[in-house]
């Protein structure tokens, strides 16, 4: 390609962690000379996997060590819940930070995200009260969210089409591995050491060591470099509000409300299960760890089954079945006093509750025209779903506070919130079209 003949191609907008269908797909990578050496791609994947791992790891520390953090800062359940609002807002802000990589480049953005994440993770380990903890976690979440989003973007831009899905799958798998590792460390009693729960955040400094070793070998993405030097012409970057000005807004609203109503009880329950198990059901920290390792290890099969089921039976029946299963087993989980029943319920709640991710991603992408897909997915993920991250844990903490909460019981509060998933079934059945086996162009028309 000569500079005088710009090729119509583009790079994916960063900051869209759930959008794995970028505008750049279809560009003849080999023809325009953007293919990378497989050895470099392996190195890149190793670097990016650490971002995904710590995304899962960091989120799980707060969920699994909530009783320990409460004990250190001696705050009420309500205060713990309220502090989740600013903390999770970091993920919302991360969306805007990640978009800066469209200007400054993927490589510097990724490197600075790692530095920012590790700096604020170290500060989290040194926090002196719940508000300093919340402030450092807010900043840490910004950089972590940006790091993950830029990581996804780099994979999309660097990996050839035939290897892209596997690379993204590896990335997401390591996010789940992060949760399992927190469970293993919890079972090993790291929280009982001299640093208590702070030791978990000290481990969060590991990416900085990896960065120090590998940063010189990390390159700017070939696609971004080609656009910067004028070899490629970027497509017009759409305004964030563009989907709301088109007929696609009806689907955007339906899918957005679906994500929000699902995420409020989902994240409320995942954030408070360990606290509920320890304080309201008398589980030991070791039991919590074993339950989490088994549930996430086996429950992840839910992702695979969901992917197969939505191809075989369709998006809508699969989503309705998963929502119903998630609701039923979550209610059982937060109501039973029996530990064996609780174990089975947790396993199946993870299987159905978290396992329906693929079908939710399908709704968030397939129902929008190609030129609006990225922005629509960004709205769904970064506005509607983040609302669940923010409000779910806060509602549970305030209503379930043992001393002053209106309900006074975390288990019953989550059970009541779970009912919010019922309108999701209605939304899917009444307002979302079935897209199984249909050409995307036909769906969006």
């Amino acid at each position: 390609v000569t500079p005088g003949e710009p090729t119509a191609a583009s790079f994916a907008s960063a900051g869209i962690p759930t959008n794995f269908d970028p505008l750049s797909i279809g560009a003849p990578d080999a023809q325009i000379g953007l293919r990378r050496d497989p050895r470099y791609l392996r190195l890149l994947l190793v670097l990016l996997v650490s971002a995904a791992f710590f995304e899962g790891y960091d989120s799980s520390i707060l969920a699994l060590l909530l009783p320990n953090i409460q004990a250190t800062f001696h705050v009420s359940e309500a205060a713990l819940g309220i502090t989740r609002i600013p903390i999770e807002l970091g993920l919302f802000a991360a969306f805007f930070v990640a978009r800066l990589s469209d200007r400054v480049g993927r490589r510097p953005m990724l490197l600075w995200s790692v530095v920012g994440y590790t700096a604020f993770t170290a500060l989290t380990a040194a926090s002196w009260d719940i508000w300093s903890f919340a402030a450092f976690q807010f900043a840490s979440r910004i950089f972590l969210g940006a790091e993950f989003a830029v990581g996804v973007t780099m994979i999309v831009e660097e990996f050839p089409t035939e290897r892209r899905a596997r690379a993204l799958g590896t990335l997401l798998t390591f996010s789940a591995v992060g949760t399992i590792v927190v469970g293993i460390l919890l079972g090993a009693g790291l929280q009982d050491g001299p640093l208590e729960w702070r030791a978990f955040y000290v481990i969060g400094l590991a990416p900085l060591l990896m960065l120090a070793v590998l940063r010189r070998r990390l390159q700017e993405t070939a696609r971004f470099e080609a656009i910067r030097t004028g070899l490629l012409r970027p497509t017009r970057q759409l305004d964030l509000f563009e989907p709301w000005r088109t007929p696609a807004r009806r689907n955007l609203l339906a899918v957005g409300l679906l994500h929000m109503l699902r995420s409020i009880p989902l994240f409320g329950s995942t954030a408070w299960w360990a606290f509920y198990a320890e304080r309201e059901r008398g589980f030991s920290a070791t039991e919590v760890a074993v339950f989490i390792i088994c549930a996430y290890g086996l429950g992840c099969i839910g992702y695979y089954v969901c992917g197969r089921a939505m191809e075989r039976f369709g998006r809508r029946p699969t989503a309705v079945a998963y929502l119903t299963g998630g609701l039923a087993f979550s209610l059982l989980l937060f109501q039973t006093a029996s530990k064996p029943v609780s174990f089975i319920a947790l396993l199946l709640a993870v299987f159905f509750g978290l396992g329906m991710g693929p079908v939710m991603s399908a709704f968030a992408t397939e129902l929008f025209p190609t030129h609006l897909r990225g922005q629509s997915a960004a709205w769904v993920r970064n506005v509607f779903e983040i609302a669940g991250y923010v409000f779910g844990p806060a509602l549970v903490g305030v209503l379930g506070d043992h001393a002053n909460g209106a309900i006074g019981n975390v288990g019953d509060t989550i059970s009541a919130l779970m009912l919010l998933q019922l309108p999701c079934v209605w939304l899917i059945w009444r307002y979302l079209p079935e897209t199984k086996g249909l050409d995307l162009a036909r769906v969006t028309s």
Binding site: H74, L89, A254, I407
Partner: protein, 186 residues
């Protein structure tokens, strides 16, 4: 601007949730938990004095040795690795007995059962005695009732909210279908 606007909205909603979702009258079980947390912290290095101050705020500091033997070493960590509180039994005289199961970090006590006696004055509860375990009162993991139970009316209210949410969603979607489109995509 979007981030600041969203932050302002979320802070407002958070304040609303905090004001609506809390009640002014405390539960004795919650106060018992806070007292136990403070008592457990009295063996932690660096925060012992603060923990004693907090324990004094929720109960009689003279009761601390009843749960944390003075000569016992905890290596600078908190005294309890776990504690569980059950549903209180209240008397008409403004007192309550709260069943507690404690797991000591070290020492011969291991897992211990006690009943905390709390008294209410002017809407707030204080721990006034540590009694031997009650045969009737049990913690949830041993078959006792939870600290608090959501009444059936709450679930009915939640169902009403769910139905209303469905209605609001339908209304919004119809509005989105009907209102004119400002601009078409490329």
């Amino acid at each position: 601007v979007i981030v600041l606007a969203a932050t302002a909205i979320l802070i407002a909603v958070g304040a609303l949730v905090a004001s609506v979702g809390t009640r002014s009258v405390e539960r004795p079980e919650g106060v018992a938990e806070r007292w136990l947390r403070a008592v457990g912290d009295t063996t932690r290095t660096g925060v012992s004095a603060d923990a004693r101050r907090r324990a004094s705020g929720h109960g009689d500091p003279a009761l601390i040795p009843a749960l944390v033997p003075p000569g016992q070493s905890y290596n600078g960590s908190d005294a309890f690795t776990a504690y569980e509180v059950g549903h209180a039994s209240r008397s008409a005289a403004g007192s309550a007995r709260v069943p507690v199961r404690l797991t000591h970090r070290s020492g011969p006590a291991g897992t211990e059962h006690v009943a905390l006696v709390l008294h209410e004055t002017e809407g707030s509860w204080r721990v006034l005695a540590v009694d031997p375990p009650d045969r009737v009162l049990r913690v949830p993991s041993e078959g006792g009732p939870p600290v608090s139970r959501a009444p059936m009316t709450l679930y009915l209210c939640a169902l009403m909210i769910v139905i209303a949410s469905g209605g609001v969603c339908s209304l919004l979607l119809r509005l989105a279908e009907r209102s004119p489109v400002a601009a078409q995509g490329p």
